[in-house]
């Protein structure tokens, strides 16, 4: 699958990463599946609820997720992925990301923020057998 994002949405994610630097940020991606691609209508920034290690760990509140699903449903959208930042670290999923990724049907977006400036945003999908991530095309 590929993932469709507008330039504004990419900027929105990059800005969130820059705002929370040097801590990690996280948020959800709302959209639909159209013609075999995840088309994102909305980027939903959320709060990192981790109490410690916020510079290299992010955790989202399950109740925020529940609310996001309800909001998305009202607008005919679904939650199709989430994004987070890697301060001073490449936009590549870590073992931690792999161990904690919930769904193989999701897009995982990672933005690398170096010294306060967002670098690249890359998209990834988790294989069915959860053995590794493959890069996803962003269109």
């Amino acid at each position: 699958m590929s993932i469709k994002l507008t330039t504004e949405q990419i900027e929105q994610i990059k800005r969130h990463g820059e705002e929370t630097y040097p801590e990690e940020c996280g948020g959800l991606l709302l959209g639909v599946i159209e013609n075999g691609a995840r088309v994102i209508s909305e980027v939903l920034p959320l709060k990192n609820i981790r109490q410690d290690s916020r510079h290299n760990r992010v955790e989202l509140n399950p109740l925020d997720y529940a609310r996001a699903e309800r909001e998305a449903a009202k607008r005919g959208l679904g939650v199709w992925g989430y994004y987070h930042s890697h301060p001073n670290h490449p936009a590549v999923p870590s073992k931690f990301d792999q161990d904690y990724a919930p769904f193989t049907e999701w897009s995982y977006l990672i933005v690398s923020v170096h010294d306060g400036k967002a670098q690249e945003l890359r998209a990834w999908t988790l294989r069915e057998d959860r053995s590794q991530f493959d890069e996803e095309e962003m269109i």
């Binding site: 410690d52 449903a73 870590s94 049907e105």
Partner: protein, 489 residues
């Protein structure tokens, strides 16, 4: 009928629906009803052992069932059940990056040495290499440190740091099996290094012949992956705990007293409590006796120390269930293990939701230990004490002195001053016998080393006695300075 709402990503397995009606008065039944209707969904929610996958949370209204009765949580018609994923991510930690980059190779000799580890799938080459890449800090090379050091070196841990400034004493040999008779008088660190190098020459042993304190703890601990607390005093326990939590290191805890032991792993980062969650305040000084005062079955630290070593190895190779959030209690006399669940205290000043402790503190002050007052030179005695030599002189001179021994009966059996008319009144019963004593007599109080008798001195002083003295250094000092033939313990 209750309904379960399905997250977007899993709707394809339930025919595209966002919410499914289910039957059942408990969560377990409701989930079974769900997967019975949609078998494809099952493997996305449950693992091969039929347990909910760790990222799957089930909420009834706004409550996670894990904090209710899990699968037995009751549900009503009007309840909203939601399947909500845990979402977490993060960059590789420095330790992860280091471990992967530096995953050390094992040579032929090491492979032969660790063969009994390598042939078990839970360890294997990967686990053994993780051990070789690991650095573990042992605070104390005594009762707990001995089995810890021996077994961790044998297991092939790459680097062992040992903090101990003490010297080997005869009374250590009953339990500190890393030291031998030939080591009496040597620094424990040197003795430990020699023994461990013999057990496994591949282990790098870094010694710190000093006392761990607030001004050196963070610097020493930061380069280690796991901290193991083998200390014998509360100040160092709190210091080790605080430093470990501040640096994000797991602290493998063990303690022993007479015939009882405890073990746990304090690791708030791993979801559990820290030492302060369990014991927010230290006991008043003098309340909990040390091994020297209360005694300990020599074998006991062997058991607890090896439990600590086991937990450290499990943390490093990532296998099994660690004692995070669990306090293991061991009673050697009954030969029983018990376990208590421990939760992180959200109000813990160190690891809670709003921590107030962000640096190391003065632990002596915290534990109520007043710093030792500058001692006058040995030749002088302050008014309240009498040295053994002085006491002997007085007795030889024919002075009437009443000697009261405040130790325990089993200590009396080892050695006593009965020949000089000494009388045994154990400290615990001392207050009850005060009115049997004659204020007009000269009374000298003694115990093993001078601590307990000082307390008895206070009791008599408060009762208005004036002709009282404490035997400085206790019966051990008497054995050193007056009667060399007397056994020491």
């Amino acid at each position: 009928m209750p309904t379960i709402s399905i997250p977007t990503a899993l709707r394809q397995y339930v025919g595209g629906q966002a919410a499914i009606n289910v039957q059942g008065d408990k969560i377990g039944a409701a989930l079974t009803s769900l997967t019975a209707q949609f078998p494809d969904l099952k493997k996305h929610l449950f693992d091969a052992n039929g347990k909910l996958r760790n990222f799957v949370n089930i909420y009834v209204n706004d409550e996670d069932i894990r904090y209710q009765q899990s699968e037995d949580t009751p549900i009503k018609e009007s309840d909203e059940i939601s399947i909500i994923p845990s979402i977490a991510g993060g960059a590789a930690s420095e330790a992860e990056v280091l471990a992967r980059a530096a995953s050390p190779e094992l040579n032929k000799e090491e492979i032969a040495r660790y063969s009994r580890h390598l042939i078990m799938p839970e360890v294997g080459m990967e686990g053994q290499r993780k051990l070789k890449a690991a650095s573990i800090l042992l605070i104390g090379a005594g009762g707990l440190g001995s089995p810890l050091g021996l077994y961790l070196a044998a297991a092939g841990v790459g680097r062992l740091g040992i903090v101990d400034f003490d010297v080997v004493d005869h009374s250590n040999l009953q339990r500190q099996i890393i030291h031998g008779t030939k080591d009496v008088g040597r620094p424990k660190l040197q003795s430990a290094k020699d023994r461990l190098s013999d057990v496994n020459p591949h282990v790098q042993i870094d010694g710190y012949e000093l006392a761990l304190r607030s001004d050196n703890a963070l610097e020493i601990i930061k380069d280690y992956d796991v901290v193991i607390d083998g200390t014998d005093n509360f100040q160092t326990r709190y210091l080790a705990n605080d430093a470990s939590v501040l640096l994000g290191k797991p602290n493998v805890y063990g303690s022993i007293f007479r015939f009882d032991g405890q073990a746990s792993v304090f690791y708030p980062k791993g979801g559990g409590p820290c030492y302060r969650c369990l014991y927010p305040e230290p006991p008043p000084p003098g309340l909990v006796p040390s091994c020297a005062e209360g005694g300990v079955l020599g074998i006991l630290p062997g058991i607890i120390g090896v439990i600590q070593a086991t937990e450290a190895v499990k943390l490093i190779i990532g296998q099994g269930e660690p004692l995070i959030g669990r306090l293991l209690l061991f009673d050697a006399l009954k030969m029983k293990f018990k376990e208590l669940k421990l939760r992180r205290n959200p109000e813990c000043p160190l690891c809670g939701d709003q921590p107030t402790i962000k640096e190391l503190i003065d632990y002596d002050q915290f534990c109520g230990i007043t710093p030792p007052v500058a001692q006058p030179p040995v030749a002088e005695t302050s008014d309240w004490e009498i040295t053994p030599v002085e006491l002997k002189q007085r007795l030889d001179h024919g002075d009437q002195v009443t000697i009261i021994d405040v130790r325990e009966p089993n200590e009396w059996q080892i050695s006593n001053l009965e020949n000089y008319g000494s009388r045994l009144i154990p400290l615990g019963q001392f207050a009850d016998h005060v009115n049997e004593l004659n204020r007009e007599e000269e009374i000298v109080l003694h115990c093993k080393m001078g601590g307990r008798s000082a307390k008895a001195y206070e009791i008599l002083k408060k009762a208005g006695f004036t002709k009282i003295k404490n035997l400085k250094g206790g019966i051990l000092a008497w054995a050193d300075q007056v009667d060399r033939s007397m056994p020491k313990y």
